[in-house]
Symmetry: C2
Subunit: 356 residues, 2 copies
Amino acid sequence: MTDTLKVTKISKSKIDQVDFSNLAFGTVFTDHMFVCEYKNGAWQTPEILPYGPLQMDPSAKVFHYGQAVFEGMKAYKDDNGDVFMFRPEENFNRINKSSERLAMPAFDKAYFFDGLNTLLNLDKDWIKPGESNSLYIRPFVIATENGVSASPATEYKFIIICAPAQAYYSGEVRVLFADHYSRSADGGVGFAKAAGNYAAQFYPTELAKEKGYNQVVWTDANTHEYLEEAGTMNVFFRVNDTLLTAPTNDRILDGITRKSLIELAKSQGINVEVRPVRVSEIVEAAENGSLKEMFGAGTAAVISPISGFTHKDKQFDLPKPEDAYSTKLKKQLTELQANRAEDPFGWRYEVPVLEV
Amino acid sequence: MTDTLKVTKISKSKIDQVDFSNLAFGTVFTDHMFVCEYKNGAWQTPEILPYGPLQMDPSAKVFHYGQAVFEGMKAYKDDNGDVFMFRPEENFNRINKSSERLAMPAFDKAYFFDGLNTLLNLDKDWIKPGESNSLYIRPFVIATENGVSASPATEYKFIIICAPAQAYYSGEVRVLFADHYSRSADGGVGFAKAAGNYAAQFYPTELAKEKGYNQVVWTDANTHEYLEEAGTMNVFFRVNDTLLTAPTNDRILDGITRKSLIELAKSQGINVEVRPVRVSEIVEAAENGSLKEMFGAGTAAVISPISGFTHKDKQFDLPKPEDAYSTKLKKQLTELQANRAEDPFGWRYEVPVLEV
Ligand SMILES: Cc1ncc(COP(=O)(O)O)c(C=O)c1O
Ligand SMILES: Cc1ncc(COP(=O)(O)O)c(C=O)c1O
């Protein structure tokens, strides 16, 4: 902990009021939060405070112009009580990339790791060991400057809040391939974890849900001929024994789960092709039986197998293969993340034990 | 005023502390604000309250997923002290259109007009008569539900705040035609006044400003061959004596100033063509001298004449015509708005005088 971090502890934990066997995702938060203010051109002394409301002027720019970016990470506890994160530097780098695209200031790396490590030490009782438990970590940055002129704010808050989470079982996931609405434009902000990207997906996703689909798989806005990603997951396709996934670009989020799975699969001798994936080839593969699997990849669910898809009113069901890549890769990745398996890649980050 | 509007007045106005001859746009707000909460599937009793901060949980969805839409309107006072708005129903309809696209609930028309009229009566001393004065009105809706799961919120606030404004003199406006970054995708949210659309423009606009331009004129994301609109203005081109402007679509905001100017110009016998405008034809017209004017149109500045543009490093200066359409149309529109001229179109809305 640097001497620049100011810590104010809660007087009494609210942990006893929480039923850890029955948690709705992202609705219960831990005792503390991390807050760092940006003003006068610099990040001020970061603080850890009791979790609680923010006072915001109604003219704060985040409400009007959407300057807001975020990250999603997880911490795991092993049976010894040690706490681990998965490639947290990637999240740190990505939030700064997102911020840059929205004309927001980059955050300080030492502040981020000191703050996060201290927060996880303070709230470590909220992280439960065991396969189905983790702590979901949500860093985010919002424009707090007052005033409704349409220009980048000069004041921000970088905040980290944490929510205990259980394994995310999504049931049968059926998806709709987008052929009218779209998620992002060339030259736009699709690659950033910008708040506005998510609100923009809600309406078309609700329309898809009304028709019985769980998610939309977005296609390129120009032609709707190439498959890009889902709302909060990148997407993989297994055709025969080859795994396909789209390359990232300025429309697609560079997912940490995605890039880890690519490496993990390759290290197992699975043939992985990172290249534009045509809707037509996936439809054809589904028709001729060579499409064996489809799955989403992201921090929340790690891997979400997809049981079927619809394209222009044509429905396709996927087989349930015995040796699914999705099952195998998910098990390997989650064991690695939670310190139940070796980590040949150096992806695991052990949270230091601090006097707090 | 309906009996469903709850009014809590300030005890002492802060108007004496305000220098009305020296107002930065959108930084000083009037004494009161309008707030209406949405929960349990319905808008609750609307309230007028002293202007002041909102208490927001750090997990409020607006901070994470950008569910936020807004409007921009103006009120004017004539020399008799009567107060007018310009086509306010258009703003009301548009905010609901924006909300729908972001999976947010439509607001109630009676609540909107009762609230707004009462607010303008309460804060009418903040509206100064005279050509250079107006009151900028900012209705907005934000998702206030707590929780970081990526789905539409079930709780919102509809808020109206007001800021006294002076005539907006922007000086020489030079613009850059976008050829890499873009503002919105086909099938996206560009037509909505969604908060996230504005943050997405800040970075490319800052890059343009560093090169000496004031604004970016966005082109279509697919080809960058068609001119669409500027950051907060629609755009008109005068080639010889014809006014050109792009048709609206799902990428372009359906501006109220734009559509009023089209009607106004037509009523004066000016030839107006609403059709896709190619970058190449505007470059050619600039080269052969037939491009006489270019201007932005929006509520804040009404009409902003553009003195030059750059496309792919080629700079073009525009002439300063004697009988500029921009000067003539701006004068006609502002006189009509402020009740200093006839209103053959029925656009003016007189704010009723209420006992408040
Ligand atoms: C749009 C989008 N794509 C993909 C992902 C997956 O990224 P990661 O694996 O880093 O969690 C996420 C979310 O986390 C996302 O929001
Ligand atoms: C993106 C955009 N285009 C155009 C306009 C002009 O619209 P209006 O004339 O209704 O103010 C605005 C703003 O007000 C805007 O935000």
